[in-house]
Symmetry: C2
Subunit: 345 residues, 2 copies
DNA sequence: CTATAAATTGCTAACGGTAGCATTTGTTTT
DNA sequence: AAAACAAATGCTACCGTTAGCAATTTATAG
């Protein structure tokens, strides 16, 4: 297209060249309606010719708006971060915001001041907090107190109004358990996530709930404690399978562990799904690539990220009602080839 | 820790409270040595109590430094973006920079102005351009002309001094071809990437080079045109295997396609690696999770991203020599279970 | 053709820092 | 003790925009 801007040129240059005051130039930059058509066109032309684009810092300084959003997260290797980021970015682009990504360490005790400083110092217009960091209520409180606009992604309703419920993981896990029961499985192994994480609890509870409802009391022997890692999936599967009364199906609470389970099962000479059904949770890229492809739960992560970002922007723009309207997207069960009905013959 | 800052408090507040001029406070903030010990301590105390942290925008406006770096990339679903981002972030954190991520559309003809605007408008101190966008020399030229500090990640030496050679993909591909030949394979299928991308050409050339050197002239029938996608891996494999004289090994030029190849082979009743060896390129997360695990090429992506970022910061700080020193990290061949020596019995 | 309202446009004080230059205070040197 | 120099601190003009309020021009009404 036209020449990219000369790193120089300020609003003053535009004003001088077009023979108007900078106040007027400012108006056309900000699309104020109160500028004469001819003046506007003339100025716009000069802006284009010059390749002028307003200095975001000066602008932010004067208007208290940076058009910068922040994303706070831990666990950078989790595949879903990617999806969230993409969702956030798509809305950012739409509304003219840029995104500053800020990984952090959940276990650090400077987590809170780090997050608040990040938002404040960079003069972000708002921040999006991802799980599991989003589960930290103190952080949320500190952000609020510091006057930072924020929105949290979470797996369940949190206690403040400012959040987005990404999905009811509890019922999603219950749905998977129910699905396995429906396939005829009665002894179902479960591989849990790391202690202390909300999602770990939610998913496990959902699993247990469903089993109870269907009359197969969850057996403690059938619950293995993993940590969402591939290796823990392998170990837990071995453990479950070593049971004197082994499960006919294993529900791993995330895909990484489910893939570990598939590997472990194969190593032990078991055929998936004929000898053992395996289900995961996340619908990560792995789920569709592995053989057999993995039955899993898909959380609409990207969509939720988009909603969250929209809400954040609404809030920034002062449309609080809009920002507060709770949103819940439901996860869906994706049936693939790693599960099948138990052979009753 | 101590109270997170009140969203208010400026340098003026600090100055007033400590009874000095803002000039002196500014000195303390910027660790200027020319401040009396006692004064410095007193001011620092007040800064801490207040939880004051300087406004990045005002600071940037006055000093022409934003401590913001940008990352420009296309292809947000490529798994390596993640790794790059993590590498970049680790250095950003170390030097006190924040990272603004900016996906773009390589095919758009506003790509260049978009990129330049991004860097200029946000007053970024520098940007890191990822492949394949980094292959666009016009973009690089425009950035330079606009006075934007930048560094490119690339698979081969590009024509300007400002870049980082991430790896010699050509020789890496050659190494893999050689490895397969060493295993006794003579008919080796190759699945290429999308037309027009530098990496596609580099890898293919490396492959052909190695074959020629080892006296097995590359056969056109043995080269299938993929596009780095899983599906294309499946299709190309079917195509290669349908050949009247099918290959005993397939080298897919990325992991996604290699995994597609494994799936296709299994569907056709072939055992990998006994009936067919398959190799990939990237060492993505898939490579270690798939069964059989994938022999592939690992590019030190994160390390390169770190180097690139360090160079960018060196350049920002005016240490041009340092910034210009070329760096090349070599990819390594990771031998896993998807390849094996041909059975010569 | 005034008077008044409406539409345009201009003037200018912030916004919160940075950094050159000036000034004040403290130390040495002679 | 005065001169000369160094260290510490202060004053202030920007940096590039925004936006309140004033001023000017144009349109509408009486």
């Amino acid at each position: 297209m036209n020449e990219p801007q000369d790193k120089n040129s300020t609003i003053n240059d535009v004003a001088r060249l077009s023979g108007v005051s900078k106040r007027t130039v400012s108006r056309v930059i900000n699309k104020s309606p109160k500028v004469g058509k001819s003046t506007r066109d003339r100025i716009q032309k000069i802006i284009d010719d010059l390749g002028y684009s307003p200095n975001a810092q000066a602008r932010g300084l004067a208007s208290r708006r940076s058009y910068l959003l922040g994303m706070i997260y831990d666990n950078p290797d989790a595949l879903y971060i990617n999806d969230v980021q993409r969702g956030v970015l798509s809305i950012c682009r739409e509304f003219g915001y840029e995104l500053v990504v800020h990984p952090c360490d959940m276990t650090s005790d400077s987590l809170i001041s780090d997050a608040v400083n990040f938002a404040n110092r960079s003069k972000l217009d708002g921040v999006i907090v991802l799980p599991p960091v989003s589960e930290n209520n103190d952080l949320a409180g500190a952000l609020g107190k510091a006057g930072v606009n924020y929105v949290r992604l979470a797996s369940i309703a949190l206690d403040t109004a400012k959040h987005v419920v990404i999905s009811n993981e509890r019922s999603a896990a219950a749905a998977m358990a129910e699905y396995l029961v429906t396939l005829g499985h009665r002894r179902i192994g479960y591989i849990a996530g790391p202690q202390g994480m909300r999602s770990t609890r939610e998913r496990l509870e959902g699993f247990c709930d469903a089993l109870e409802i269907h009359g197969c009391k969850p057996d403690l022997d059938m619950i293995a404690l993993g940590d969402y890692s591939f290796e823990s999936g392998i170990n837990c599967t071995r453990e479950l399978l070593a049971n004197e009364n082994p499960p006919t199906a294993i529900f791993a609470s995330n895909d990484e562990m489910a893939v570990g389970a598939i590997n472990a099962a194969k190593d032990m000479g078991l055929d998936v799904p004929n000898d053992l059904s395996i289900a995961g949770f996340d619908d990560s890229i792995l789920a569709s690539r592995i053989m057999p492809s993995l039955t899993t739960i898909r959380r609409p992560v990207q969509e939720m990220a988009r909603f969250a970002t929209s809400k954040l922007i609404s809030s920034i723009d002062g449309r609080e009602e809009e920002a507060k309207t709770p949103i819940m997207l439901v996860p869906s069960l994706i049936e693939r080839s790693s599960t099948r009905a138990i052979d009753l013959t």
